[in-house]
Amino acid sequence: MSATLEMPTFQPADYKTDLKPVWCAGCGDFGVLTGVYRAMAELQFKPWETVVISGIGCSSRLPGYVATYGFNSVHGRALPIATGVKVARPELNVVAVGGDGDGLAIGGNHFMHACRRNLDLCYILMDNEIYGLTKGQAAPTTPSGDKTKSTYYGNPEPSVDPCELAISMGATWVARGFSGDLKGTVDLLVKGMSHKGFAFLNIMSPCVTWRGDDQFKTLKAKLRNLPEGHDPTSRSEALKFTRETDIMTVGLLYEVKQPSLVERLSAQKVTSLRGGAPPTTQDVIKSFYPAF
């Protein structure tokens, strides 16, 4: 973040593409997009060394609006693709984004394992508690009992707290934010994008179309900041702010230092050579002669 002290080369507007967002007027995702522009500028990410990857959903349209390398992939698979990008090219800045359905329903398994692997990715989950793009079905974060297009008599399933899941699966940086709070969003994005290891930001991003204009207000009313002196290195402390019902605590819930997958794999590359030179194809082939 020291870059902010120097004369910045990239302005937020430099991260903007010509494509006009398809989002509904008032959609929470606009706030996240603006946050991303600002955070990238603050971190002075070189656009051509940055990759934004998503699945499918309203929120997953985001990479099309960011003037870096971008990939709006298939439903639920942002993280596998991001994993491939980052493992193959560890020097890149890799940001994965998507919705609650994308990341927690169809993509839930990848989320679990991305947390566990602790690869240096920042994953932004735009949580509107609904399937936006497909016009309003229940998501894993839709409150139990809510009527949606797919739950005529009310959602019969309890909802999940993505932050709790991330912590239990070993993510090393876990935060909750609100897209209506731009400053807070930028702050968390900057921290998440600079974290070494898997950073998970669950950002509440209202869907005015399928959750109604109220969602914005309801969420805002529930908002609380983390108490002063919160110890983010404690799993049990962090879990105190998960599965809340009447309030919603935002901020950096959890942060620990653990070797990242990039570090571990790099170390293995060194070990593998035992100080020698990398083998050629011929060396590899010759290993198949009978060894006696």
Binding site: T17, L19, K46, P47, W48, E49, T50, V51, I53, I56, P63, G64, V66, A67, T68, Y69, G70, F71, N72, S73, V74, R77, L79, P80, I81, A82, T83, G84, V85, K86, V87, A88, R89, E91, L92, N109, H110, M112, H113, L265, Q268, K269, T271, S272, L273, P278, P279, T281, V284, I285, K286, F288, Y289, P290, A291, F292
Partner: protein, 591 residues
């Protein structure tokens, strides 16, 4: 009568050491410059279940596993029964079996003829007496076989030494004693057993590898530096091998949570500019269906090695079949383009894999390699000189293009250069939606039609540039065989034998499956009176696939197809050739 070509089958339970025995035999033969093809088959147990290992050793070039077994070692007749229909004996076979096993059948039960030998052997007794442990039964047999059948005695002994060199000296010594006990027992045997002696002169060592290993080596050679995989029989060896070797060449291997993620990670790595591959078998390929479509739509090069096993569903995980061709060519919703190649033997796994990378990178699409358990897990000798293959890289856009760069420019070849992260000024945002030349999503009919044209335009140049096929036999023939993949070996041998008998038979084996090398095939077809299509798929997937783009002459086309579960044998091909030669033209056509 001495021979240049011996097929030895060993059958027992896991504890009998059949696999080790076969491997030592193969290694020893490879060390002496002989040609070897070794296959194994298992029951459902992980350990201790029935196992069969068939090693064919020859001083001449061979192309198929031996199907008529010359020498059979049975440690347990119950296990033998579990390979019914799969292990077929030569009428003159020598059968050596555990004399303590009361469940022995009669030679007639096994369909043996006049010239057979029937030899009870006290494997167990010999082993315990000479080494103190029954675990050495296989070592005893090795000594016995080496002596009796002229197998590379000295090299096998060296293999035994190598195997136990890291153990206590006493263990090594005991095993060598066991080996010698086998040799001694053989020397004492009466009769004409020695008539099946292998005739050869020692040559320089050969490589011994499996098809899966050959594919893995090829990936490294082709410049693949990312492998994302999920274990599955019979392809896991690729993951195992690369987990050791990839880091050494600066690449990465990850074992993902499932196959969707495996191919997803490959798509990501390739998008990031790094050549990538995954390997799997049928169930995994099925799970990759949607991600293949993304690679197709976003035009991202990547390679999927599918080592086919018996299907559908979990099917026959350890047995071979040629029944993933429909999934490879047609699997997936929408009009999605990919290419499919198929190796014909272990060494060809190397070439098919490099080709797969070359096609993928040159034409920016996913390429599937259809190998099978019969090639992937059989180990065979390979000549080092043959493992050479040119590598092609993807085209990179001119950095000067800047804002004018169109990732999906509608070029004449259908291919536009592909930038990757790190390249300044050439950023683009891609997706699996239909999109314009710049990559912006579009649901417009006109865009869709134009971009479908663009993508499918690649097919013809791939076909013409990567036109790979094998052809055996004379140009004009009464019967022309069309087959693919692992069937090539037995067909090649059967054709050679038929030609030697003066029969007019030839064969065509495409190694590029989709697009298909149509013109050379048409030429081949024009030279044949009858076409005999051979494949190991109950639904006749290959035959039906061919029909989609080519009108075969129904009144002179014969189809032989059957389920997998056992590899195609030279004997079967012989039978079909015989029938086809006898068939009168025009053939009757079913409506």
């Amino acid at each position: 009568m001495p021979t240049k070509d011996l097929t030895i089958a060993m059958i027992g339970s896991g504890g009998d050491g059949v696999v080790t025995m076969g491997e030592m035999l193969a290694q020893a033969a490879a060390r002496d410059g002989l040609n070897v093809i070794k296959t194994e088959a298992y029951g459902p147990q992980i350990r201790g279940g029935e196992t069969s290992c068939v090693v064919r050793i020859s001083s001449e070039k061979i192309y198929a596993q031996g199907d008529a077994v010359d020498i059979l070692a049975v440690f347990n007749w119950a296990d033998f029964g579990r390979f019914k229909g799969e292990v077929v004996l030569h009428p003159n076979a020598a059968v050596l079996f555990e004399e303590a096993d009361a469940a022995a059948p009669t030679p007639a039960d096994l369909g043996l003829g006049e010239g057979h030998s029937w030899v009870p052997v006290p494997f167990l007794k010999l082993a315990t007496e000479s080494t103190g442990t029954k675990a050495a039964k296989n070592i005893v047999s090795l000594g016995l076989f080496a002596e009796l059948f002229g197998l590379p005695n000295e090299s096998i002994r060296a293999a035994v030494e190598k195997k136990f060199t890291k153990k206590k000296a006493a263990v090594l010594e005991a095993n060598l004693k066991g080996f010698d006990a086998g040799v001694a027992f053989a020397k004492a045997l009466p009769g004409d057993l020695g008539a099946r002696r292998l005739l050869y002169t020692k040559g320089s060592p050969k490589l011994l590898m499996s098809g899966n290993e050959a594919s893995a080596v090829a990936a490294i050679h082709a410049g693949c530096r990312f492998f994302g995989g999920y274990p599955i029989t019979p392809s896991s060896e690729v993951l195992h091998f690369l987990s050791e070797w990839m880091p050494k060449v600066g690449g990465s291997v990850i074992q993902t949570e499932d196959e969707l993620s495996a191919l997803g990670s490959c798509v990501g790595a390739s998008f990031a500019g790094v050549k990538s591959m995954t390997s799997t078998s049928g169930p995994g390929l099925s799970l990759m269906t949607e991600m293949l479509g993304l690679a197709s739509m976003a035009e991202i090069p990547t390679v999927v090695l599918d080592v086919q096993r018996g299907g559908p569903s979990t099917g026959l995980p350890t047995k071979s079949e040629q029944s993933d061709i429909w999934q490879a060519v047609f699997g997936g919703h929408g009009d999605q383009l990919r290419a499919v190649v198929a190796p014909t033997d272990v060494a060809d796994c190397f070439h098919a894999t490099v080709d797969a990378f070359n096609i993928a990178e040159e034409y920016q699409l996913p390429v599937i390699i259809l190998s099978d358990q019969g090639i992937g897990q059989s180990r065979s000798t390979v000549d080092e000189e043959g493992l050479v293959h040119k590598v092609v890289d993807r085209a990179i856009p001119d950095p000067a293009l800047g804002d004018k760069y169109l990732r999906y420019q509608d070029t004449e070849s259908g291919v536009a250069p592909m930038s990757s992260p790190g390249m300044k000024g050439l950023m683009y945002q891609t997706n699996g939606l239909e999109h314009s030349e710049s990559g912006s999503p579009s649901a417009m009919y006109l865009t869709h039609e134009k971009m479908n044209h663009k993508r499918y335009r690649k097919l013809r140049p791939i076909r013409d540039k990567y036109e790979r096929f094998l052809q055996f036999g004379p140009e004009k023939a009464n019967v022309g065989i069309l087959c693919w993949g692992s069937s090539a070996g037995p067909v090649r041998e059967a054709v050679a034998a038929a030609n030697a008998r003066g029969e007019s038979v030839s064969a065509f084996v495409p190694q590029l499956i989709y697009p298909f090398p149509k013109h050379p095939f048409l030429k081949f077809l024009a030279g044949c009176d009858k076409l005999l299509v051979l494949e190991i798929s109950f639904a006749a997937q290959f035959y039906k696939y061919i029909r989609t783009f080519m009108t075969l002459p129904d009144d002179r086309t014969i189809l032989f197809k059957r389920s997998g579960g056992k590899n195609l044998t030279v004997g079967e091909v012989n039978d079909e050739i015989r029938k086809a030669l006898a068939a009168k033209l025009p053939l009757e056509v079913k409506k």
